[in-house]
Symmetry: C2
Subunit: 337 residues, 2 copies
DNA sequence: CATAAAAATGATGACGCTTTCATTTATAAT
DNA sequence: ATTATAAATGAAAGCGTCATCATTTTTATG
């Protein structure tokens, strides 16, 4: 309860507040003897530094704001935790907001974070009302990095993956296995750019290989296990059911697997299933899931160091990093030959 | 970049800074016409409120600090996200620190969070150097709630589960299925109270039922899938191998399952496996996992509302809530009869 | 030992907002 | 119209720290 301030410490140590501040922030500016005296008082009186006041005074902040679009599916967990870890190492604190894939909320969360004047901002993808969001970002002048996505705007810094290419690759792999009817299960792609790119990759790949388009093969659901099951059920009850299903997230793929099993279908004997993300369980699933590996940890780490760099070395030109994704072939897809 | 302050807004609106502040924080105190005028300027000039300055001035904060012990295993994800969500609803912002199960780090993270003078503190369990930690907490006078654990100290507020009882229940269930040799796989129980309680529940239950003690049946590893596999391999290569294995976290249980399968053992025909947590995948695993259901979301939500209550209605007596856990019987354990 | 230069410390005014208290303006009552 | 009362606004002093500039003390140099 005893909220001692720097001033009282100064009084007790027989120095000025300025000296106490220096003893704390730039020890080399203060004589050893006095510094020791000050630190002793600080310890004795259990003085607690007031970082907020300091931030206000020196017009900077040791906090960075992070916005994630969702807490379900939790694909971003690894990224979030990687950021947390690295930020902590660098003496930064992280404040998290959840936009729930909702433009309104996204704006309001961004607002709230901005009001705390963070040193930098990390956004996971970005949403439909791009212009507005970007204006807010630009106006604030706060260094910002977009993650998990390669935004169209060339002015933005980002650390992302090529969702389009990855989805294209997976689709092409399935086609290579001679599948002709390939189902697609995805999250809210009409709202989320990142997912929409995956959709486009799938669509273009089919068309490039001369396969016919069928709306019924694409099912949009929430990115949860349960919804993955539902989506799969829908696909499997089609008159002309697909021989392979590409789920644009591993979690949904597991749902699809569960649904298939429930229907008595063997994977991959009766139907092939592919995922996207390569979460921990994928390698241990039954059967092990063929998927696209996305290194969420790396995204987080890169994004953070990128951001720190921008904070410390301001420069107008954006940092842009596109991480590679890998097709990980396991045993959930079989060749039709 | 244009960091307009309240003062400039005031000038432009032809009022005093105080009025601008009121127009923002207590609109009812200001005439409609002037409020509109002020808000118009604010919008025009893209003024951004400076929450830090406000917090400093009014000696409070709309930020709460959250410490989690680990990012691996990610059992706490649901709790963290639940907190995030609810906090956001109530206009609070959340800053997260990771103690990595390390007392030194825990102290330093707590320090850092404290220096930002949060409105309240949420700790996930608490660590070995309890006294020191508690002293820091008490001294700061910041409302604090411990989560996931029922601390020994009766002065502490907490929202937890009875880890001891839950583990006891599961062990008893296995014994009820006539298992005599029951392996135990757990995380770092020597370091983490929460896990240690589970260990004690297991141990006491065995002893209460007159079963002999065997050190070799207890394997301590990191709470990861890979380590779960390793632990299982160790148990399965025992001369006198257990007929059932209780993994004190679902993630490790999945590792155990994977290891069993790799060895050609069928679950539960050849060996029974039980988990703890009931994470999303557990119900969909093959076979569906028998486990202890812990409602991580509820823990988070309760802890937060408990904390908010403490923030708004300070009172010396601690709030203590012990949530119930359920034994969820699925198909990963069989009776030996 | 005197003097110049360097190092350490102090005084003071921000930083952007809130809040109390005083003052002015609007409303109600006579 | 004149008070009395209430509502709206303004002036100014913090909140706890940092940074600039001025001042004092120490060290180095001749």
């Amino acid at each position: 309860m005893g909220q001692i301030t720097i001033e009282e410490v100064a009084k007790l140590a027989g120095v000025s507040p300025a000296t106490v501040s220096r003893a704390l922030r730039s020890p080399e500016m203060v004589r050893d003897s006095t510094r020791k005296r000050v630190l002793k008082i600080i310890k004795e009186k259990k003085y607690v530094y007031h970082a907020l006041a300091a931030d206000l005074s020196r017009q900077r902040s040791a906090n960075i704001g992070l916005i994630i679009p969702s807490t379900i599916g939790s694909i971003f967990v690894r990224t979030v935790f990687a950021i947390l870890e690295k930020a902590q190492e660098h003496g930064y604190t992280v404040t998290i907001g959840n936009s729930k894939y909702n433009p309104e909320i996204e704006m309001s969360v961004l607002r709230t974070l901005n009001e705390r004047h963070p040193a930098g901002l990390l956004l996971t993808g970005y949403c439909v009302r791009k212009e507005e969001l970007l204006e807010e970002i630009n106006r604030s002048g706060i260094p910002t990095v977009i993650m998990w996505e390669k935004p169209d705007d060339p002015q933005l810094s980002y650390v992302g993956i090529d969702n389009y290419r990855a989805a294209y690759t997976m689709t092409e792999y399935l086609i290579g296995l001679k599948h002709q009817r390939i189902g697609l299960i995805l999250g809210p792609y009409s709202k989320v750019d990142r997912v929409h790119k995956r959709f486009e990759g799938y669509r273009d790949c089919l068309s490039d290989h001369g396969l016919p388009w069928d709306d019924l093969l694409v099912v949009e659901k929430e990115p949860t296990l349960a919804d993955g099951m539902e989506a799969m059920n829908r696909l499997m009850s089609l008159a002309n059911r697909p021989t392979a299903v590409f789920a644009a997230s591993d979690v949904m793929a597991f749902g699809a697997m569960a649904a298939a099993k429930e229907k008595g279908l063997k994977v991959p004997a009766d139907v092939s299933i592919a995922g996207f993300d390569d979460i921990d369980f994928s390698a241990y699933a039954d059967p092990p899931l063929t998927t696209i590996r996305v290194n969420g940890i790396e995204i987080g780490e890169m994004a953070l160091s990128c951001l720190l760099d921008m904070i410390e070395n301001p420069s107008p030109q954006p940092r842009q990093i596109c991480l590679k994704t890998d097709l990980v072939v396991r045993n959930s897809c079989r060749s039709l030959e």
